[in-house]
Symmetry: C2
Subunit: 344 residues, 2 copies
DNA sequence: CTGAAAGCGCTTACAG
DNA sequence: CTGAAAGCGCTTACAG
C-alpha cells in the first residue's frame, strides 16, 4: 500500500543506498540519477518514514515541548517563541501534554525513556531540584522554562520581584490595607508571588496578615480562572474592614475580580500578573513577563546543547515589568468605567 | 549509554523475545520471569524505544492533531475534548503546528508521508474538497474539525447560521442599520459568517450593503485580534450615518471594538462569536460553538476508523447557540458600564 | 558516483 | 512458557 525505499530503488534502477542519498542530500549523486529518483518518488508519493530514519540514524529531528496543561496564554506565547526559533532549523516541534494530576516526574521519565525527541523543553513543570538532577542520568539535552535546576539550561522570571513591584506600587499610592487574590497555595508561582507580596508589605512597614490572602475555587487549573478570581474578590469585599487595594495572582483571575466589583458597584485598585492580550483592552494594570523571548532563548540553549553536550550551563532570569493602566487608579477623581457587568 | 532490549535480556538471562513480551503484556510469561525482567529493566532505566517499536510493529500509538496556529482559545477547547477522549485509550497525543503562510496541503501531505501517527485530526484546516480527496490515496485514518470533506469523518458548526441568529437578534431588537466587523475576507469562517449576516438582513427586508462591513488590520492572525476589532470599530463609528448595531466575527475582535466605543464614549449593541471564557465576565453577547464536544466526537470518529477502515463515514454538524448578555442591549434605559477603558 | 551489507532496537510468527 | 530468527525501512561506513 505504502511504498518503501525498495520500491523506489527498483523502479529507478538504483540501489536503496542511492535513493537514501538523494533524500538526504548526503554523498554525491549524479544529477541525472537524482532527478530520476526524485521524479519516481514523487509519482509514487514516497517519502522516507521518520521512524525508520530515526532508528537507523539515531537522529529524530524532533524537539519536544512538554507542558502541564494547555489553554493558557502563557504557554501559547512561549510556544510562539520556540516555534519561530525552530523554524530556522530542520527540527520539527512536538507538543506533549502531561497530566497535572498524576506524578509529573514519572511521566517525564517515561517520555525520556521512550526517546521520542532529540531534546526537550519543559514549560512550567515544577520539580524539586533533586528530581531534575535525577533526570540527568538519561543524558538527554533539555532546557527548563519557568523553573530552576542548577544542572540544566533554563530561563525564568523573578516572580517574587514582580509581586513585590505590584504590591509596592499600590502601597506607594497610599493604600494601607492591601489584600491579595491567590490560587493553589502549594503551586510554585503562588509561593513566590505571596513571598513578594509579603516582602513589599514588610519593607514598607506594613503588617503581613495571612487572612488578607483570598482564594476562590482552586479545583480547576489550580484556581487560575475567572471563576477563582470572582469568588476570591467576593470574599475580599465582604471582609471587615474592607481592604483598600488588591494584588491579584493572574490576569484571568483579575477579570473575574473586576466583575465582582462591578456587580457590587464598588472599586478598589487592582494589579494582576501576566499581561494577556486582553488586559491592554480592558485597562488592567499588570506585571509583564517576556514570554516570547523566554521561549526563543530557551530554544537557543537547547539547540546549542544538542550540538555540544558539554558546553557550560546557562541561565537567564528575566525582569518582570510593571504595566500601569486604569485598574490600579484610586477611584474618586473621575468616573470609573467598570468592566462591563454581565447580565448573566 | 542507553540500554537496549539486549542488555535487559542478557542481565535477566532470557531472550529478547521474552523481554519484549513482558513489556507488551502479550503472550504468556511466567510470573517469576516477568518480575525479574521488570526489576532489572527498572534498575537500568530501560523502556522500549518508540521508534523501534513503531517500525517493528507497524503501530505508532500516536494520534496527531494538526492545527494552523496556536494561541487560540478555539483550538485549546477542542484539544481538551480530544485529550480527554484519548485518555481512555493507549494513544499519545502529538500536536503538530503547520505554517499558515505556506501551502498547507503540501505540509499535510508531507506529514502523512512521513507516517508519524496512526491517525490525524485536522482542526480548522480549510482545503478545497478536491484536495481532501487527494489525501485519500494515503489511506490514512483522519477526522476533520471545522471543515468539510464528504470522503472523511468530521464535525463542524454551521457558521452561517450562527451569524444569521446574531444578526437577526439585533434586527429584531429594532436596529435597522446593522454593520459587521469582519476579518480576512477569503478565510472560510468569514465567508460563511458574512453569508449569514447578509441572509439575515435580506430575510428581514433590509438591504445588504457591503460598505457596512468593516475590517481592521488583518496581517496578524487574519485579523482575529483585539487590534483588528478596535480598528474596525473606529472606522465603523466614523461612518455616516453611524450604524446602530454590529455583528462582530469573533470575541477577541469584540474586545477591541468595545474599547473603541468606550474611548469615544458611545455605545451600540454588539454580538460576536466564540464565547471565550472571558466573554461571560465582560458581558459579551456571543455565539457559542460546542468546542469541547467537537474535539471529543471527532476523536471518537478517528478511533473507530483506525479500528475499522471501512466503516461508513460520519459527520456531525453542530448548532451554534446564541448567548445574550449585556453588550447587545440597546443603550438608554440604564447606565451602561463600558468595558474598562485603558489609559494606555 | 554507486552498490552490497551490516546494523539500528524492536515485534512476531514459528517451533518446541 | 520460552527461544531462534526473520523482518520492519531506513542509514552509513566500506569498497570499488
Amino acid at each position: 500500500m505504502n511504498h518503501t525505499i525498495y520500491d523506489i530503488a527498483k523502479a529507478a534502477n538504483v540501489s536503496i543506498a542511492t535513493v537514501s542519498r538523494v533524500f538526504n542530500e548526503s554523498g554525491s549523486v549524479r544529477e541525472a540519477t537524482k532527478k530520476r529518483v526524485m521524479k519516481i518518488a514523487d509519482e509514487m508519493g514516497y517519502h522516507p518514514q521518520v521512524f525508520a530514519q530515526a532508528l537507523a540514524s539515531k537522529r529524530k529531528n524532533i524537539i519536544a515541548v512538554v507542558v502541564p496543561i494547555m489553554s493558557n496564554y502563557f504557554f501559547m506565547e512561549i510556544l510562539a517563541g520556540v516555534q519561530d526559533k525552530l523554524l530556522e532549523t530542520g527540527y520539527e516541534l512536538n507538543i506533549i501534554n502531561i497530566q497535572s494530576t498524576q506524578d509529573q516526574f514519572e511521566q517525564i521519565e517515561h517520555l525520556i525513556r521512550r526517546q521520542r525527541a532529540d531534546g526537550y523543553i519543559f514549560i512550567s513543570i515544577h520539580l524539586p531540584q533533586s528530581k531534575w538532577q535525577e533526570l540527568d542520568r538519561y543524558h538527554v539535552p533539555m532546557s527548563i522554562i519557568d523553573d530552576y535546576s542548577p544542572a540544566h539550561d533554563g530561563v525564568s522570571v523573578n516572580n517574587q520581584k514582580g509581586a513585590y513591584k505590584a504590591t509596592s506600587y499600590l502601597i506607594e499610592q497610599g493604600c494601607r490595607n492591601v489584600a491579595m487574590i491567590s490560587a493553589l497555595e502549594s503551586s510554585t508561582p503562588i509561593i513566590e508571588r505571596v513571598d513578594g507580596y509579603r516582602k513589599a508589605l514588610i519593607d514598607h512597614g506594613l503588617p503581613f496578615r495571612p487572612e488578607l490572602i483570598f482564594t476562590g475555587d482552586i479545583s480547576y487549573r489550580d484556581g487560575f480562572t475567572e471563576k477563582g478570581g470572582f469568588e476570591a474578590m467576593e470574599k475580599l469585599l465582604s471582609f471587615d474592614p474592607q481592604p483598600d487595594a488588591c494584588f491579584c495572582a493572574s490576569d484571568v483571575q483579575a477579570i473575574g475580580a473586576l466583575k465582582s466589583m462591578t456587580q457590587r458597584n464598588c472599586r478598589i485598585p487592582i494589579i494582576s500578573y501576566d499581561n494577556l492580550a486582553v488586559s491592554e483592552y480592558i485597562g488592567l494594570s499588570t506585571v509583564r513577563q517576556p514570554m516570547y523571548e523566554m521561549g526563543a532563548e530557551s530554544t537557543r540553549y537547547l539547540l546549542r546543547r544538542i550540538d555540544d553536550p558539554d558546553i557550560e550551563i546557562e541561565h537567564t532570569t528575566y525582569e518582570p515589568e510593571l504595566i500601569i493602566r486604569r485598574s490600579s487608579e484610586i477611584p474618586g477623581e473621575q468616573s470609573i468605567n467598570g468592566i462591563g457587568s454581565s447580565s448573566v
